[in-house]
Structure formats: C-alpha cells, structure tokens
C-alpha cells in the first residue's frame, strides 16, 4: 500500500514554522499541543509501567520477598493512579483527538486554542502534584481511594495525590468542552452530522462524559480531602456519614471514565477498519448512535462495582440489568466492524494488526464484563485477579492496542515520515503475545480465588504468576519497540506521502505534515464518510470539490 517516497521540497508546516522551546510552550496550534500531550503521557505511561514491572517481579515468587506489604500497596496504587488518570484517560483524546478532530472536520484549529494550551498546562501541573506525592513517600489506598481507609487510617499522601487528580480533571473538562464546541460550530461546508467520520462521533460522545462526569469526581475528591482533614462527617459513619456514599460518587464518574478511554479507542478502530478494508463502515448510523448510547448507558451502571459493598440487593439488581444493557451498543460496534471486513479488500499493515488485536481482546474483556455484572458470580470473583484481568483486557487490550494502531496509522501525517513496517508488525505481534501471556493466566488465578492487592500468595498459584510475569516482560519489549523506531523514524524514516493508505478522510487530503492552518482552502464536503466506491483512490479533490492542497 505504501507508494514510492515523494520528494517534498522544503516547505513550511506546523513542525518547522517556528523553532525553540518558547514556540512550543506558547503554541496555540492543536497539532503541537497534541505532541506536547504525547510527550507528557508517554512519560506517565513508562512511570506507571515501571510500577507494573515491580509488581510483577514481586509476584514472581509466592513469598513477599522483594518489598514489604506497605510498599506493595503503594506500588499498585501509584501504578493505577498514573495509568488511569495520567495516561489512559487523556491517551487518545488529548493526542490523536487533539491532532485529528480539526483536520477531520476541515477546520483550522479547535474552537478555543488558548484553552487547549491551558488544558495541557493544567494536566501537567496535576501530574506534578502526583509526582510530588510519589517522591514524598507515595500513597497506598489503591487508585479508588475507598473510605474509610483513605479518610481515616491511611498514613500516606492521600490529599496531595487526590489534588493532582482534581487538577488534571479540569484539563479533561476543558478538552471535552473544546471538542464539543468545535464539532458543533466548525465543521466544513457540506460536512453534515451523518457525513462525519465515526472518529468524530466517538470523540463527541466521550467529550459528553468528560464534561458531565468529571465535575462529580472533582466534588468527590474535595469531599474526601475535607473529610480527611476536618472530619466533616460525609463518609464516616461514626459521625453520621456513609462510606458507601463515597463509592457511589466515585463510580458515578469512574465507570463512565472507562468509556472516556474506550470510546476514543473505538473511534480509532472505526477509521482503521474502514481504511484497511476500503469500505464504508457497515451500519454507519448504528455505530454512530451506539457511541452516544454507550456514553448515556455508561452513566447508569456504576453500582456493579459495589455488589459486595453493602449496597442494597434491589439496587444491585437494577445495576446488574443496566450493565447487561450497555453491552448491546458495544456489541453493535464489534459486529459492525466485523461485517465491514466481510468481503473487504483488507490490507494487513501494522494498524490493521492492532485493529485485529483490539477486536479480539476487547471482546474477551467485554464478555468477561458480563460475568462480573452478574450478581451471583461477582460475589465469587470480586476483588480477585479475574477482575484485574477483565479490566486490563478492556483498558490495555482495548485502549492501548487502539492507541498504538492509531499512532502507526497517523504517524505519517503527524511527522511526515514512515515507520519501519516489518519492525512495526513484529512489535504488534510481540504486544499481542505478551499481553495475553500476562493477563489470561490472571483470569484463571482469579477464578481459583487469588485475591488482588496482596504481595504474597499460596504456592499453588506460582506457575500462573510466573507465566504472567514472563508475559509482562514480553509486553514491555513490545511497548519499548515502537518508542524506539518512532524516534528513529523522525530522522531516518522514509518521507511519507500525503496519503500513504489511500484513505478518504479530510485529514489525508492535506499535506504531511500539515501546514500550520491545516488547509490552504477550507474543503467543501460532498461525500459521505468512507465513500470508497466513489473515491477509490482516497482523493476527494479531483472533480467537483475545492482543491484543499
């Protein structure tokens, strides 16, 4: 699929329009801000990964022989906090979303460029607070900060960590707000809602969650800090509070937060499937509505995290039924992607390998989600490694596979360079094997009864734990490889053509890398998304349309 390198004369684009640290730190260009996010979240990803390595090394042997239990508590807490709040939540929206939303809708930038830059600064400041907590001694509550432990008993840096998350939350709200306004107000002429790429629909749905849900976690964190510092009696039953109320408030945001992670991942997969199969996504409208349905239903299921918390059985039943409902729009997407591939002209480039990985792993993660949504079964597997495996299949097998697939797919557009295809395919394979070897044994461990959050375990669990640790080391190699060859490609990669995949999205109709203002002329859209029948070569420019070059 990759055409011969095109000799591109030196021309101005967003990467060479200005130089120096100041030009980056004060930029209002959504593309540069996306790269600032990329660098920041990559740092947090590897920091969170470092904690994961230490966790897996500790679990190599049944005895707690590498770290004390208190240290182990801090390791899994810092792993969760780093990965959830400072990597997974912003991973796709703040990087690929930031870069691509204006390009895909034919706009010159997001609606509020200064707010966009501010959101990166806010995110970074939030991250620094968390780093401060880490360097000062860490936090040991688990990423969920459950009361009463977090409010009354923990002697670690709960408030500093929570404050970091509180601050970073505002970044998420601002990004969501920016996307919503941009998608409503700045679409190119002719780009109606049902001509929008599904990437945009999913980001719109995820943005709704960011704006509607994130303020609730902010309030919850403030209440947590107030309870810990001043004992105001919100969550402490000794002074009239209810510890389960914390879980309601926490999960009202934190369950939909999973959809902030997975909806943008689905956004990427829809684009990759269509471009690789060279077909319109089957049931486009259903997939678009499914994104919104996931965002709405996602707010109604939080109580499935609380089946054994003391929540009433009646509420448990309601949340269980609603949790099954949210599987329907998710399944719509999986079936429709698969149907799109049917009789498609499938190109097995690296992005498609990650897409296959996503579909398989997300399906396993989703199906095991139905297990834990069942009231009776959840009692058996609650707080075991079954749950750990389930949510890693969604968050890592889902979101990170899509993130990596998306990075490979749009890398030529972002940097103007191609990555080494063979090495990239190898890396996709290594990630897939490493991931499954790490997390599949954890399903079995959990079903056999190994609880999470302990640094020691009975001898009979060792074989599966050794498999998991071995898988983690393979997975680490799989993650390091792309970082190495992406950096290598910046200097030595082949010059990328403007549209190496022959895709039809507006982002492919401009230059690689794009000019500062994205398009010389705002494109006029006359085709629906993924119209590979009318536009077999991916170009929307030749006949009736304004030339966007």
């Amino acid at each position: 699929m990759i055409t011969a390198p095109v000799t591109v004369p030196e021309r101005e684009h967003y990467l060479n329009a200005s130089y120096g640290l100041k030009s980056w730190l004060l930029t209002k260009d959504h593309k540069r801000i996306a790269l600032l996010y990329l660098a920041t979240i990559t740092f947090f990803f590897f920091l969170g990964g470092l904690f994961a390595v230490m966790i897996r090394l500790e679990l190599l042997t049944p005895q707690g022989d590498m770290v004390q239990s208190e240290t182990y508590n801090k390791l899994f807490t810092m792993h969760g906090v780093n990965m959830v709040f400072f990597f997974l939540l912003p991973a796709i929206p703040a990087t690929l979303g930031n870069f691509l939303v204006p390009l895909m809708i034919g706009a010159r930038d997001l609606a509020f460029p200064k707010l966009n830059l501010a959101s990166w600064y806010i995110f970074t400041i939030g991250g620094l607070f968390t780093l401060y907590a880490l360097l000062s001694g860490g936090v040991d509550t688990g990423w969920t900060f459950y009361t009463p432990y977090s409010t009354t008993y923990s002697n670690s840096f709960v408030i500093a960590t929570a404050l970091g998350i509180f601050i970073a939350g505002f970044s998420s709200i601002l990004t969501g707000l920016n996307f919503i306004v941009t998608i409503h107000r700045m679409r190119a002429p002719g780009l109606t809602w049902f001509r929008l790429p599904l990437f945009i629909w999913s980001h719109y749905a995820a943005s709704l969650i960011m704006v509607l849900g994130t303020p609730v976690i902010a309030v919850t964190i403030v209440l947590l800090a107030a309870e810990r510092a001043f004992h105001i009696g919100i969550f402490d039953p000794a002074i009239g509070g209810d510890p389960v109320l914390f879980q309601h408030l926490f999960w009202f945001y934190s369950h939909p937060a999973v959809y902030i992670m997975i909806l943008p991942a689905m956004a990427v997969i829809s684009e990759l499937v269509a471009a690789s199969a060279r077909k319109r996504v089957y049931g486009y409208e259903f997939v678009a509505y499914a994104s919104v349905a996931i965002a709405v239903f996602g707010f109604l299921v939080w109580g499935h995290h609380m089946f054994v918390s003391g929540q009433s059985v009646y509420a448990g039943l309601v949340f269980s039924v609603l949790s099954y409902l949210v599987a329907v729009p998710s399944a719509v997407k999986v079936f429709n992607w698969t149907a799109t591939l049917h009789k498609g002209s499938i190109a097995l480039e690296t992005p498609m390998l990650y897409t296959f990985g996503f579909i398989g792993l997300f399906t396993i993660g989703g199906m095991t989600g139905l297990f834990v949504a069942a009231l009776g079964l959840d009692v058996h597997v609650h707080d075991t490694y079954f749950v750990v495996a389930h949510f890693h299949y969604i968050m890592v097998g889902g979101t990170i596979m899509a993130y990596l697939g998306g990075l490979h797919f749009w890398w030529p557009k972002i940097t103007g360079r191609m990555y080494p295809e063979i090495l990239a395919k190898l890396s996709a394979l290594v990630v897939f094997i490493g991931f499954n070897l790490t997390f599949f044994p954890q399903f079995i461990l959990g079903y056999l009864g190994m609880p999470r959050r302990y640094h020691a375990y009975p001898d009979e669990f060792q074989v599966l734990n050794v498999m998991s640790t071995a898988g983690a080391s393979i997975l680490a190699v799989g993650y390091l490889l792309p970082m190495c060859y992406f950096i290598w490609s910046l200097r030595y990669g082949k010059i990328a053509p403007d549209n190496p995949w022959g895709a039809v999205g507006l982002e492919w109709q401009t230059l690689s890398p794009p000019p500062v203002e994205n398009f010389d002329e705002i494109p006029i859209v006359t085709h629906e998304a993924y119209d590979y029948v009318s536009l077999p070569n991916g170009s929307v420019t030749p006949k009736k349309e304004a030339n966007v070059r």
């Binding site: 409503h184 107000r185 509607l212 849900g213 609730v216 209810d242 389960v244 109320l245 309601h248 408030l249 009202f252 707010f299 109604l300 939080w302 109580g303 609380m306 003391g310 929540q311 009433s312 059985v313 009646y314 509420a315 309601v318 949340f319």
Partner: protein, 104 residues
C-alpha cells in the same frame, strides 16, 4: 447552526441588580432559618433556597434565559445528569433493609 449572539437579548443592568438583590435575600434567609428548628423541613427548605439561587444565577448571570436552544439543552442535561446521580444513589440508600437482614 443558527447564530444568535447574546447581545441580541442583552439583560438590563436593572435586572442584574434585582437578581443580585434576590441572591442576597436568599443568603440572609438561609442564615436566618439555620437558627430555626423546622423539624423535617430543615433540609428541604435550605435546599429549596439554594436551588432557587442557583437557578437565578444560571438563567440571568449565565444568560441561559436568552440563550440558544442548544444552550438550554446543555443546561437541562446537566440537571438531568445530577438527578441520575441522586436518583440511583437513593435507589440504594432507600432500599437497604428491604430483605430484613442487616446490610441487604
């Protein structure tokens, strides 16, 4: 994507002062009733005053009263989502003990 600028329906300065006055009266009222024992009405009355004040701020200071339909939908969505949070949380809290043994 119809355009409707806020300036087309600018709110008069008098209205702002009146709303500000109403907010101050609401604050004084909240303080006053805090010293009264209204029995089971303590919380509903305090919340009622707070909600009225919040509504005034949203409608006038945040210009929702004269905003576009989309702006109104956004404001109502926020309230709806708050009701979801409160409703489903109460679905747990109000039904604890239905099975007649502790914690269920």
């Amino acid at each position: 994507m119809s355009e409707q600028s806020l300036s087309e329906h600018s709110i008069s300065t008098t209205s702002y002062y009146l709303v500000f006055l109403a907010l101050m009266v609401g604050t004084a009222l909240t303080t006053w009733i805090a010293y009264l024992d209204l029995g089971w009405l303590n919380t509903p009355v305090a919340l009622g005053i707070a909600c009225t004040k919040a509504m005034l701020v949203v409608l006038y200071f945040m210009h929702v009263k004269h905003g576009t339909k989309l702006t109104k939908i956004v404001a109502v969505s926020g309230i709806f989502w708050l009701l979801l949070l409160l409703g489903f949380t109460m679905a747990d809290i109000l039904t604890r003990g239905w099975l007649g043994f502790p914690g269920k």
